[in-house]
C-alpha cells in the first residue's frame, strides 16, 4: 500500500469520526430524542471516550477537546469548561485502557459513567452549589445522576460505531 492510499484511509477515518461527533451533537440536542421522564443522555462524552479507546491517548485527547467544546456550545456553559475536562479525562481513560484495562463495552461504559459523574459534578459545583441555591440535593439525585447513568447505558452505540469505523479504515503496513 502506497503512502498516498494510506493517507486517504486516515483522512476517511477521521472524517467519519468528525461526522459521528456532529451526529452525536445533533441527536443530543434534539428535543424529545431518547428522552424518558425529561432525562436525556449525553452522547458526545461516550463517543469521545470510545475514539480515545480505539485511537489512543493523543487522538482521543484531541477529539475529547472537540467534543467538549461542542458540549460547551450546546449547553451554554463558559467556553472551554467541558473541553478542558473532557480532553484530560479522554487522555487518562485512553492511557488506562492501553496499560491496565481491556477496551470492552462494559469497561468503556463504566469509564463513561465515571467521566460523566466527574464532569456533571463539576458543573453542579460551579453552576449551582457555589451560588448557594436551596434544594440542590434533590436536583442532583433526580436530574444529574439519571443523566450520568443513562449516558453510561447508551455507550454501547458509540462503541459499536467507533469500532466499525476503526476496523473499516485500517491503513495497513
Amino acid at each position: 500500500m502506497d503512502a498516498r492510499k494510506r493517507m486517504l484511509i486516515q483522512v476517511a477515518r477521521h472524517l467519519c469520526y468528525a461526522l459521528s461527533l456532529l451526529a452525536a451533537y445533533v441527536l443530543q440536542t434534539t428535543p424529545g430524542f431518547l428522552s424518558f421522564g425529561g432525562i436525556k443522555p449525553v452522547l458526545l462524552v461516550p463517543l469521545a471516550l470510545c475514539i480515545g479507546v480505539f485511537e489512543g491517548a493523543f487522538t482521543g485527547a484531541l477529539y475529547g477537546a472537540a467534543a467538549g467544546l461542542m458540549w460547551d456550545i450546546a449547553s451554554g456553559r463558559t467556553g472551554g469548561f467541558f473541553a478542558i475536562q473532557l480532553m484530560i479525562l479522554c487522555f487518562v481513560c485512553a492511557v488506562s485502557v492501553t496499560l491496565y484495562l481491556r477496551g470492552t463495552i462494559l469497561n468503556v461504559s463504566l469509564l463513561t459513567g465515571g467521566v460523566m459523574l466527574l464532569m456533571c459534578s463539576a458543573d453542579f459545583l460551579f453552576g449551582y452549589l457555589l451560588h448557594g441555591y436551596s434544594g440542590l440535593g434533590r436536583l442532583y439525585l433526580t436530574r444529574i445522576l439519571p443523566v450520568v447513568v443513562f449516558s453510561a447505558a447508551v455507550t454501547f452505540a458509540p462503541w459499536l460505531l467507533t469500532r466499525r469505523i476503526a476496523e473499516k479504515f485500517v491503513p495497513g503496513d
Binding site: L22, T29, G38, I73, G79, G80, Y128, R138
Partner: protein, 277 residues
Amino acid sequence: MKDFFSSLKFKILVGVLVLLAGVMTYAAANGRLSAAPQELLGAIAVPFQRLSSAISGAAEGFVDKYIRIDSIIEENEQLQRENAELREQLVDYDIMKRENEQLREAWEMKEEYPDRQIVNANVIGRDPLEKYYSFTIDKGERHGVKVKDCVITAKGVVGRVIEVGPNYAKVATILDPNVFISCMTSRTGDIGLVGGDVTLSQSRQCAMTLLPRDTMASAGDEVITTNEGGAFPKGLAVGRVADVLPEASGKSMFAVVDPYEDIESVKMVMVITEFSE
C-alpha cells in the same frame, strides 16, 4: 509512557490545553465564547437539528401512543380499534394541527397588536444537562431576533433570548433563576419580579418575588407582565398564582406561579422583536 511525555505529541496536547484555557478565560471575561466557533457549528448543525427535531416530534407522538396503548385497551376496546386505524394519519395530522394553531394564534395576535413584530420559531435543541429547560430555536439575526427579545406562545410568556447566531437563538426560560421579568397580579395590581427558583423549577413552577408584605394576592390570581424596564410588552399572560408565602428575610412576600405554558415540552414559540408600548 515516559517517552510520550517528552514527545512532540505531548507538547501539542499541552498547547491545545493552554489554548482552551485561554478560550475559557476570554469567555469568562466577556460573558460568552468568541462568536466564530458557535456560528460555525450553528451553520453546520442547525439544518440537521431542524430535520432531527421534525423526525423526533413525529416519532414522539407515534411512540407515546404505543406506550399508553395498554391502558387504552383496558378502558375501551372500541377506542383501541379506532386508535389503530387513525394512528398513521394522526402523526402527520398532529404536527400540522399544532403548526396551524400556532400560526392562527400568531395571526390573531398580529391583528390585535399591529405594532408588535412577531417571528414564529420552532424549538430545535435542548441540552440534557439543562435544568431550567432552556432551548435553541431555528430563527436568529437574519430573521430580526435580538438578545433580550421576549419569547412567548399563545398561552403565555416562555422566556427571553440570551444569545443569537445568524440562524439560531438560545432562549432562557422563566424557570431559570437568572431571568427576571417585571410583572403584576392582575386583580390586586401588586408588582413583583417573576423568575426561576431552583427548587420550584423541579415542579415546573417559578417565583414572583418582592411582593409587599401586605399583598392581597392569593391563589388563582393571574400574573401578567408590566412594561417596567421596557423589555416586555405590557399585559402578556405569564401564569397563575398557586400560593403566596413570606420571603426568608420576612420583609416581603413571594408567590409561587404556575406558568400557563408547559415550558418543558413547548415545540413552537413566537419571538416579539419589536413593540411600541
